[in-house]
């Protein structure tokens, strides 16, 4: 094949991308902050554990020297604090990554996993179990029902918006709106028939919390979170191309429909797993990818891992705040993230308007 050589020698493309150099540094800084925050959270609480003891116990369990602590601090650390910190980390990473994926798949900075019905669908399952008193799987019933109905709802949204082998984004989003409203009505109907105890349990579940954390919950989330987090980066480059629009992405060789099925499934797994163990924790998936995009540009090869780390950082810090700010009482984590997240989002909105004259 011949190539079209222009008559004059091509000038080199000028690189004016100072943001590019910031990416590895930012990712490293986020990771360090996450580790520091996780250690702080593991040591802080009603029973304080000094950092030295904490590291010694971690090293001991990893067979790297160190020493076991006395019975009480060892038990507090390994049965209460660490599972909670690890769960916060996993849920945060899942929500952050799912948020970045959703925005990329829909080419819309305002999309979040909730738009495809995964959160409200999960809530229907959980609320139905609580209100109807179902306990086929014992204490796991609510978690399993939330996960299953979250996935089922996404499947329904996708199937309903498909026509002729293709899915239009607008149809998908509008179907999500309709299904969300339907789920809201179902929850309302269930609450209408519920007794007071069930209503307060539902309310607490919907506020979002990690207070029921334990290693079994960590193990329940881990495979889904790991699967979703492992699949996401493989699609980073193709998500960049999708920003050009569906047709241009297809012209560049992307199998758009297949990619969308894979990524919507990944979003559903990540979010459903998070919702199942922690209830509805809003705004992490929306705000974290936004903030990172502003700091270091929209390239998904950076954005996907950074959103996972950033989401984990926000939830570990948020959960630490939730259980220490009003100690000995515990604030609901979902309330806290939305309470801080929404004004922050508003600030981002104003700032973007000022700088670029609108969302872009």
């Amino acid at each position: 094949m011949t190539t079209a050589a222009p008559p004059e020698r091509p000038a080199p493309v000028r690189e004016e991308e100072p943001v590019r150099d910031r990416r590895p540094l930012l990712l490293a800084a986020l990771t360090v902050a996450l580790l520091a925050c996780a250690l702080l959270a593991a040591g802080t609480g009603a029973y304080a554990i000094p950092l030295g003891d904490l590291l010694a116990s971690l090293a001991h369990r990893a067979h790297l020297g160190g020493h076991a602590l006395e019975r009480v601090p060892e038990s507090v650390l390994w049965n209460v604090r660490l599972p909670r910190v690890v769960l916060a980390l996993l849920v945060g990473a899942a929500l952050g990554c799912a948020g970045a994926l959703t925005q990329g798949v829909f080419g819309n900075p305002l999309a979040e996993p909730a738009v495809i019905g995964v959160s409200s669908g999960g809530a229907v399952g959980a609320v139905a179990c609580i209100v109807l008193g179902l306990d086929a799987l014992g204490s796991w019933t609510v978690t399993a029902a939330a996960f299953a109905s979250g996935l089922l709802t996404v499947g329904a949204v996708y199937a309903l918006s498909r026509s002729g082998g293709r899915t239009e984004v607008v149809t998908l989003l509008l179907t999500g709106v309709a299904v969300n409203a339907f789920c809201g009505a179902l929850i309302g109907l269930l609450l209408f028939t519920a007794d007071t105890a069930a209503i307060s349990q539902v309310t607490f579940w919907q506020l979002g919390s990690l207070s029921q954390a334990g290693w079994t919950k960590v193990l329940a989330v881990l495979p889904f979170a790991a699967l979703g987090l492992a699949v996401a980066p493989r699609y980073a480059r193709r998500l960049d191309l999708l920003a050009l629009g569906e047709r241009p992405a297809r012209h560049l060789g992307v199998d758009v429909e297949r990619m969308r099925i894979v990524l919507v499934t990944a979003v559903a797994l990540l979010t459903a797993a998070a919702v199942a163990v922690s209830g509805v924790i809003g705004f992490v998936g929306l705000v974290v990818p936004h903030l990172l995009r502003m700091l270091a540009g929209p390239g998904h090869r950076f954005l996907l891992p950074a959103s996972a780390v950033g989401g984990a950082l926000v939830l570990v810090a948020g959960d630490l705040a939730a259980r220490t700010l009003a100690a000995p009482a515990e604030l609901p984590l979902g309330v806290l993230t939305a309470f801080i997240g929404s004004p922050f989002f508003f600030w981002l909105l104003r700032r973007t308007r000022r700088r670029q004259g609108g969302w872009a």
Binding site: E8, P12, E16, L241, L244, R247, G253, P298, G299, A360
Partner: protein
């Protein structure tokens, strides 16, 4: 001449309305084929059929002798590129990054140096080296159009489909775009370009396919197709075809009522 692309008996029906009927078309290496016709004639529909976006209800499109349906998306992306009419990017990617996206189909098949060279050639040719670091979303309409063209050129395909590439451009950049199309054709590529400016088509195209109501009413050299009587009938407006005083290329003007003089 070898046909890069052949379309035979293409028909598309949507909601009982025939968008395309019995369209035959061949694009050869080394030529610019202009698709002309009034609004709603089916030019963009035909282009999306040729690009493989829309499966025709009747007929078949072949690229390099192989039916479109037999290609995997990535294989097709190394053979044809399409410049769409509108240029949107959902997130503020820098213009240089947008141009580089054109190299995606060649990932793993080209060295980084070849990729960079293709990007640099495309960027220089379209006069957008100075836009490299700016976010695409902050560019003007004409700048976006040139960056989008650079992306399509960087894709480096034997077949280039351009949907109204001159619509948002000033006079200088209109000429620039068609000169690039000419260079590509001279280098052995095939170019299909949808245009509204008949004089522009006359000056740059080798052949013209004239569409009306989903059918090709004429295909041939510029002088054959740019006939005053035929154009008047197709566009439902009387036109004059003049010859350029130097070279004799056709100039097409709509007939305008003369002011009282």
């Amino acid at each position: 001449m070898t046909a890069l692309l052949e379309a035979g008996g293409i028909g598309c029906t949507v909601g009982g309305r025939e968008l395309l009927a019995d369209v035959d078309l061949a694009v050869h290496a080394g030529e610019i084929l202009a698709l002309l016709g009034p609004n709603g004639a089916g030019k963009s529909t035909l282009l999306s059929v040729l690009a493989g976006d829309r499966r025709p209800d009747r007929g078949e499109v072949r690229i390099d002798g192989r039916p479109l349906a037999a290609y995997r998306p990535a294989e097709l992306a190394r053979r044809r590129a399409l410049l769409p009419q509108t240029h949107e990017v959902s997130f503020p990617f820098p213009a240089a990054e947008v141009v580089r996206m054109g190299r995606a189909p060649w990932t793993g098949r080209c060295s980084a140096a070849e990729d960079e060279a293709a990007v640099a050639r495309a960027t220089t040719a379209t006069d957008c080296a100075h836009l490299a670091g700016r976010p695409f979303t902050a560019l003007s309409g004409g700048e976006r159009a040139r960056v989008a063209l650079a992306r399509v050129l960087a894709q480096d395909t034997a077949l280039l489909l351009l949907d109204e590439p001159t619509a948002a451009l000033d006079l200088r950049h209109q000429e620039l775009v068609l000169r690039i199309a000419r260079e590509r054709a001279d280098a052995g590529r095939g170019v299909v370009v949808v245009l509204h400016d008949l004089t522009l088509a006359a000056a740059h195209a080798d052949r013209i396919a004239l569409l009306d109501a989903g059918r090709t009413v004429a295909t041939g050299s510029t002088r054959e197709v740019l006939d005053a009587e035929l154009l008047g009938r197709v566009y439902r407006h009387p036109v004059e075809v003049l010859a350029h005083p130097r070279g004799g290329a056709p100039i097409v003007l709509p007939e305008r009522p003369r002011g009282a003089d």
